[in-house]
């Protein structure tokens, strides 16, 4: 199978899974923005994405995409380190025009994944997972870790309350902001790089894609950050 046996194939898998994750982030960010305007609206979306079959299928597909992206990332990195040889350069100087992010995608990815786990613990664990397990309210133990407020007894459908609780903690907010920055770096390279790998690039589109990637990623991360900061300010 060329998607695993050839170098370009493996990169295609990285690209498609990466683009899929960007798409997911876009939906997620749009959903979050709803919370700024309407608690009911946000909870309606949460309800829509509960433990019903389409949301579950969606979750599984997403998890699979995530999983593939991570596994391939490690696989490629191991191969690349081997290709580099055993002796490292004594002096290394970053060439002009090379993005810092592009040479540190794995590190950025690990940061993104690390905080994502924390994030899943905050929200997904208390909401969709509890619903799947047939519970109506959040798991208290999990909530204490990250939030100032006691959330025991909050409905698994009440995403809005989770947001309010989570972003009232300044430490969590800062951590999330760092996370968004890491995502920004990861995506500014990942976005155009994915298109490049899929062959949709040339000398003219090279800078266009880079600009589009920068704008799109910035808007995406700002969207996330605005919600976190707004809810922190509200909590004051």
């Amino acid at each position: 199978m060329w998607l695993s046996s050839s170098t370009v194939g493996r990169k295609v898998v990285m690209s498609i899974s990466g683009l899929f994750l960007i798409l997911f982030l876009t939906f997620h960010m749009s959903m979050n923005l709803v919370a700024l305007f309407s608690a009911e609206g946000y909870n309606a979306v949460c309800g829509f994405l509960g433990a019903n079959w389409y949301a579950l299928v969606g979750t599984l597909v997403l998890a699979f995409g995530m999983f593939v992206h991570i596994i391939y990332a490690f696989w490629l990195t191991i191969q690349n380190r081997r290709a580099r040889g055993n002796v490292r350069y004594a002096v290394v100087d970053k060439p002009k025009g090379v993005e810092w992010a592009s040479q540190n995608m794995l590190v950025l990815g690990i940061i993104v994944i690390g905080v994502a786990c924390f994030h899943l613990y905050h929200f997904w664990y208390n909401m969709q997972l509890q619903e799947i397990l047939g519970k109506e309210t959040a798991d208290v133990a999990a909530c204490v870790l990250g939030s100032a407020n006691d959330l025991s007894g909050v409905s698994v459908h009440d995403g809005y309350s989770f947001i309010v609780a989570t972003f009232s903690n300044p430490v969590v907010v800062v951590l999330y902001l760092i996370w968004f920055v890491a995502i920004w770096f990861h995506l500014t390279h990942g976005f155009w790089s994915a298109l490049h790998t899929l062959g949709w690039n040339n000398d003219i589109w090279f800078n266009r894609w880079k600009t589009i990637a920068n704008i799109y990623t910035t808007l995406l991360c700002l969207g996330f950050a605005v919600v976190a900061v707004a809810f922190y300010i509200k909590s004051l």
């Binding site: 170098t7 081997r82 290709a83 060439p95």
Partner: protein, 251 residues
């Protein structure tokens, strides 16, 4: 009189492929600015021979920036920090007085060291042999003007074809990937009508060979194109990907 500079040269010495290498320091004094980097090494070697020591081995040939024989990783950059030129076209006027200049061989699993600064780049030949050609026998060609090629396409093919096969792209790549080299040849031939016929076969064969020889996966850092002495464009890699994916989807 042109100004002269003094500096310390830290240079990699390695007896052969199996020996462990090490750095050796040499004080260089009174080197004029119009001395090329390789002539500077000549001066050092002349001195070493006079002292009955073994001279530093490095690859070099045409010394006018076209054969692709010279290599050298100078101060953290293949072909030195100047950019857009090969080591043989790098001049000492670009270096600071009193500095330390570190010279290392290309370091990549695909290019094992032969001795000192000389590496084995036969992998590139093998990739070319896998498919870097148009299958036409001598004497089988039609009149040269029978194939019309738009100037823009011909120029673009020429830009891709200007690769000198020096290996700087692999040396610069943190992934040890040879994609820029492969893509330059694939692009040149895929752009031209003569090469289109077997474009799919070529892309597949060359990529497969590259991988077999232990080169890494491209992550589009762009270091290769940034360090390429002939400024071969990164978009060639996009074209290679396109050709390869198209070929695989057709199969």
């Amino acid at each position: 009189m042109e100004k002269t500079i003094n500096f310390t040269l830290r240079v990699w010495r390695q007896k052969d492929a199996h020996s462990k290498g090490y750095f050796e320091d040499h004080k260089m004094e009174g080197i004029t600015g119009d001395t090329s980097f390789l002539e500077m090494l000549d001066i050092l070697n002349e001195r070493l021979v006079r002292e009955h020591k073994e001279p530093i081995v490095f690859d070099h040939d045409c010394r006018e920036g076209i054969c692709g024989m010279c290599s050298l990783y100078v101060n953290g950059h293949p072909h030195g920090p100047e950019g857009g030129c090969t080591t043989c076209q790098l001049f000492m006027r670009k270096f600071e007085n009193g500095s330390v200049i570190t010279v290392e061989p290309w370091r990549s699993a695909g290019f094992p060291v032969i001795k000192d600064l000389m590496v084995d780049r036969t992998a590139y030949d093998k990739i070319m042999q896998a498919g870097g050609y148009v299958s036409v026998n001598t004497g089988a060609a039609q009149d040269a003007n029978a194939i019309l090629i738009p100037k823009k396409v011909a120029d673009e093919a020429m830009d891709a074809a200007s690769c000198i096969g020096c290996g700087a792209c692999v040396a610069a790549c943190k992934n040890g990937s040879a994609m820029l080299f492969v893509s330059a040849k694939v692009s040149q031939l895929a752009l031209l009508p003569q090469g289109k016929v077997e474009a799919a076969r070529r892309a597949k064969a060359m990529v497969a060979k590259m991988e077999e020889l232990g080169f890494g996966n491209c992550t589009n850092t762009g270091a290769c194109a940034a360090e390429c002495p002939k400024c071969v464009s990164l978009s060639n890699i996009a074209r290679l990907n396109r050709e390869f994916i198209k070929a695989k989807l057709k199969d």
